[in-house]
Subunit: 348 residues, 2 copies
């Protein structure tokens, strides 16, 4: 245990280097007007003292906190994790810290929006995969800092997401092209209202149905929490016991799709012969479950968010309401096939 000793300050560094604190500040911030000789001495002194600039003191003066806040419903998520893995180093390169607010339940979420702890303690906010209420979104507008919405379509606000409508339409079309007429849509509900662009994906699904002159049937839309095994089994059971059960299920998340596959197999249903299952994500899981899916690239999203952040912060002329839409693509594998001949209406 080292004795109780202050962190060294710029004054200490300045004394050791034989210059003024101002010069230390300039040097350490990489400003130009410093002679190479002085720069070397200061850097040497800083290294010797193991000096690190106090962000808090600096931000008190500059008004910048040097931190980017991230609001996420959970960190136990392939999507969010991958985005952040790719975003982190970009922010770090820009000298920014990453402050994370996790709201794994509704109480935490409410508390965040009530107290807005990010206010005044971050320079920008990235909001992940929430289905924000209007009230919440408005609250964030008051934040007086750039807010970027990730993986959600925030009208009139900077957003980055994949083209969910298109993705969902493509997926549904794929199933229709195979001959399916009764196609179920399985929604995943996450903690604290975490949803995967539900509205848009449902829209794409309905568009594809409409284009093929198929009626939309509410009974074919079910939902369950991702980590609720029983909920998933029940939702699948609900579909199977319909008067006219579906011949295909479109699941909005690969990891849940795999659970659906499992539930179906347990019920003695062969895939893809008796039932087609289509996922979303192209998570590793999908590859070895041999799951047909719609691929999205969270790594690309992470980088796009990083770039958008830079733009919004550095370019005052930039469009502060721009939407960056990334593409998806269908990856056919072996969980989708034409429906069985006798399937259409077993109950009738």
């Amino acid at each position: 245990m080292p004795s109780v000793q202050r962190h060294p300050t710029m004054v200490d560094v300045a004394q050791l280097a034989g210059v003024s604190p101002s010069t230390v500040s300039r040097t350490l911030r990489g400003l130009t007007n410093v002679t190479p000789d002085v720069r070397a001495r200061v850097e040497q002194a800083a290294r010797e003292l193991n000096f690190a600039v106090s962000r808090q003191a600096a931000s008190l003066v500059t008004g910048k906190t040097g931190a980017v806040a991230v609001l996420v419903p959970t960190l136990n998520s392939w999507f969010i994790g991958t985005v952040l893995d790719n975003l982190g180093p970009m922010l770090r390169a820009a000298g920014m810290e990453l402050v994370v607010y996790v709201t794994p339940n509704m109480a935490e979420r409410a508390s965040f929006f009530e107290r807005l702890p990010a206010r005044r303690n971050a320079d920008a906010l990235l909001v992940f995969s929430f289905d924000l209420t209007d009230e919440e979104a408005t609250r964030l507008d008051d934040l007086e800092m750039p807010v970027i919405y990730v993986s959600q379509h925030a009208k009139g606000r900077a957003s980055v997401y994949v083209d969910d409508v298109d993705a969902s339409r493509k997926g549904t079309q794929h199933l229709i092209n195979l001959g399916h007429r009764r196609i179920a849509f399985f929604q995943t509900i996450g903690p604290s209202g975490f949803v995967f662009s539900t509205h848009e994906r449902l829209t794409g699904y309905r568009q594809a149905l409409a284009e093929a002159d198929l009626a939309f049937d509410e009974e074919l839309v079910v939902a369950s929490s991702a980590d609720d095994e029983r909920g998933i089994v029940e939702a699948v059971g609900q579909l199977l016991t319909l008067r006219e059960p579906p011949t295909a299920i479109f699941v909005d998340q690969d990891q849940v799709a795999v659970s659906v596959l499992w539930s179906l197999r347990r019920a003695g249903i062969e895939i893809p012969n008796h039932m087609s299952v289509l996922g979303f994500d192209d998570h590793e899981t999908a590859r070895w479950a041999d799951l047909t899916t719609i691929a999205q690239q969270p790594a690309d999203i992470g980088r796009a968010v990083g770039e958008l952040y830079q733009t919004l912060v550095n370019d005052p002329e930039a469009d502060r309401e721009q939407h960056i839409v990334l593409p998806t693509r269908l990856i056919p594998r072996n969980t989708t096939a034409p429906p069985p001949r006798d399937a259409p209406a077993p109950g009738v």
Copy 2:
């Protein structure tokens, strides 16, 4: 876009409430010496102005930053994500922010240890699942803040982890009890040296072998990166082409174990009849892959870390080198069974 306006400060709140800034500070920090009447006025004023305390200004005075730094190799991890999901709200309740440093590659990792950006900008550091070099650990000792090592056994330093040796021994014993004599050990390598307590788990594995008078065979220990599909397939192939192939594989991570299962099935190997596979984690994946596994509870780890943090920060008497060891348990499912009769030595 609201006009360029300063954030309100305590002075603004004080004026509106008709008191001094000192009183505002006391009130907002919940100190006792404030009359209910005054407290109400101040709180009302703060709410009206949408005031939020500037952490940076406060920390300049107190010397506390109000932030806990977390060093993780990746955020795309069930384990780390779950720990943080449970830790986050605890820290939040204590008024702490969570600052995350992600080092998805060696360069980022090196940069972290070189610059130690957490220094002076956090009150404590939580280090996750790294296999730190001695040099790195020593570097962190210089940090002059409590450091908690999560999911790793840091000698002489506060740590929280599951009993890896015991877990691994139990798992290996389970396989031995089933009659296996050639048991492979599959290690997962993560980004920037991310490993799952490799040393301890290998120790437990060897202990169990020794207790059963089985020789340790280096050839039976293979490794691959978790996200490297080909690597996994190759590692499995390596095992299968040994002169004496194993009859069971112990994989140190469920998600990888599932890929191993898939590789094996692809190679026409029936599970568990021809080969047993044992996982580690009890990830959701294990449940529906019906994978026998060793369960650990990252949620418990998160809470334990939160409590340890509180203790280290609040109780100067507390043991600063304590190790908190959490239990694991074997969950038998259907990927482990006795070895095939004719298996022991096909090549001889």
